[in-house]
């Protein structure tokens, strides 16, 4: 699936919820299902610090594609992280760099991304793109 297709899929999944609680329950379930990072990987190198919840993001380049694993100490954040990983993981650096993550808006998570909510989510998207840029120049270099 392309990044676009994955986003469409997520939007579709969320469209059945007309209530915030259901959406959160879904995010919580996603969070629970996300593979945890090993304690060893939850280190400063992989930490993206928001003010209130911690996010660890670990990238891996295999055969020209980036695979992310991630974790958070807050479960809703884990859920959101899970969505981002699902959308971006397994794509090429170029695809990730160019990705327009419209699903965030469309499932109503935009406010969770606003720079004024100190949950590090914006920082996370930024970090994923930065890794992609780094890999991309490495591959060229």
């Amino acid at each position: 699936m392309t990044i676009e297709e994955k986003q469409e899929k997520i939007v579709e999944e969320f469209s059945v919820f007309d209530d915030w609680m259901d959406r959160y329950n879904f995010l919580i379930d996603l969070g629970k299902d996300l593979d945890v990072l090993s304690e060893k990987d939850k280190n400063r190198d992989y930490l993206i610090e928001g003010c209130q919840s911690k996010v660890w993001l670990k990238p891996d380049l295999r055969e020209g594609r980036v695979y992310f694993s991630a974790d958070s100490d807050a479960i809703i954040t884990r859920g959101i992280v899970a969505l981002l990983v699902r959308v971006l993981s397994g794509h090429t650096p170029a695809e990730i760099m160019d990705a327009d993550l419209s699903f965030i808006d469309r499932i109503g998570l935009r406010q969770n991304l606003s720079p004024t909510r100190s949950n590090g989510l914006l920082a996370m998207v930024k970090q994923m793109k930065l890794y992609a840029i780094a890999y991309s120049s490495k591959m060229k270099g």
Partner: protein, 405 residues
């Protein structure tokens, strides 16, 4: 007895709905809402006497000046300061503390001197002192906090030395709600010949403050936390210190004679009010203080005690909920942790139920860390909150727990 329904009708924002649910605002420690009398006063000011104070010979300026100086009188009476010239308007509590840290520091603090603060302070009463200590080569000494969230008075007594220059302690903890024994704390400082600053940012809105009774040398608070506008605050200081201290900011109105070589400064309080002050903010804050007086400070205190007791009982009944801060004397602030639920998750879900609490370090990282955590969930109430809102909070927390399990 207060008529809470009538009171709530005075605060338009309390009728707000968030996500289609009635707002349950339990973040009063961060900022309080404004009653109509304050909003109306601001409107009146902007439409009938907006004009620069102290500056013009004309009628509008005179009206603005009279209103502004009247606000100063109101503040003086509200905290029972001895002299109106000892009331300085600042842009907020943070600015008030920075003013003292800088100007007192310039005059009285040298290398090797000591400043005492407590482990319980808001960042606003930590960082300015760290900054002045760093600049001057002075040393910060810390009064520890006990497990119930009160100050360790024994250690406090032992912290003094011949090099202690000032003590800076909060009246009420914004993170735990603890009301400190400021009279005793002040007496001990004075017994050691040391002046004291009391941070009243969380105290002024909840009860009687009498600076002569406390006998503190500096006292300060913010307008926005006492039902007044943003961008205005107060510093009270004894003139024996204020007169000795150099100005903090330079600008218009704080000067006497200016030449390019030398400037002499105006008398108190103007020496510390550089530039165009927030005179409309001051007038709005005075309206808020008048509102509190007429509502009844005693009644407000009683009401808030009821709210605190009720909320404490309710929350204590929730399994896995641990209250941080159990001092015998508290304002209606309850900080807590939930076993197995991250504070941030709790805050996010409560928000979606319309319940506004604050999560995190509460701008008091050292204190929060002392309790072995990164952050807490804080419900901070005030007299316009209701028992039903506390019920909603308790129900919300139970729901959060269910969702997480």
């Amino acid at each position: 007895m207060l008529n809470i329904e009538e009171i709530r009708s005075q605060f338009p924002i309390l009728q707000t709905r968030v996500y289609g649910r009635p707002l349950v605002y339990l973040d009063n420690g961060a900022t309080t809402h404004k009653p109509l009398v304050v909003l109306n006063k601001l409107q009146e000011a902007y439409t009938s006497f907006n004009s620069n104070v102290h500056r013009g010979v004309h009628a509008l300026s005179d009206k603005a000046s009279v209103e502004y100086e009247g606000a100063r009188e109101t503040v003086k009476r509200f905290i029972n300061a001895p002299l109106v010239s000892e009331i300085i308007f600042t842009s907020g509590a943070t600015a008030s503390i920075n003013l003292v840290a800088f100007s007192f520091g310039e005059r009285y603090i040298s290398a090797g001197d000591e400043v005492i603060i407590s482990e319980m302070e808001h960042h606003a009463n930590i960082v300015p002192w760290q900054m002045v200590c760093k600049r001057k080569g002075a040393v910060l000494k810390i009064i520890p906090v006990l497990d119930d969230g009160t100050l360790d008075m024994e250690r406090y007594r032992e912290l003094f030395s011949s090099r202690t220059r000032i003590v800076a302690v909060t009246h009420v903890s914004n993170a735990l709600g603890t009301i400190n024994p400021v009279r005793e704390i002040t007496r001990i400082a004075h017994d050691n010949g040391v002046p004291i600053l009391i941070d009243g940012a969380q105290a002024i809105q909840h009860g009687n403050v009498d600076v002569q009774d406390i006998d503190c040398d500096f006292y300060l608070f913010s307008g926005h936390k006492v039902y007044g506008p943003t961008g205005i605050g107060v510093l009270y200081g004894k003139s024996e210190y204020l007169n000795e201290m150099p100005p903090w900011q330079g600008g218009g109105d704080m000067v006497d004679r200016v030449t390019l070589e030398e400037t002499t400064f105006n008398e108190l309080p103007f020496k510390f009010e550089a530039g165009t002050t927030n005179f409309i903010g001051a007038v709005g804050m005075a309206a808020a203080l008048d509102y509190l007086k007429s509502t009844g400070i005693e009644e407000i205190g009683l009401r808030e005690k009821e709210l605190l007791d009720y909320a404490t009982r309710k929350l204590e009944g929730i399994e896995g909920l641990r209250i941080i801060g159990t001092a015998p004397e508290k304002i209606p602030i309850i900080s807590f942790l939930l076993e197995k639920v991250h504070m941030y998750d709790a805050g996010m879900i409560l928000d979606k139920m319309g319940i506004a609490v604050r999560t995190g370090t509460q701008c008091a990282q050292p204190l929060i860390n002392r309790f072995g955590t990164d952050g807490v969930i804080r419900a901070s109430m005030t007299f316009y909150n209701t028992m039903e809102e506390i019920d909603a909070l308790a129900a919300g927390i139970v729901k959060v727990k269910e969702m997480m399990e």
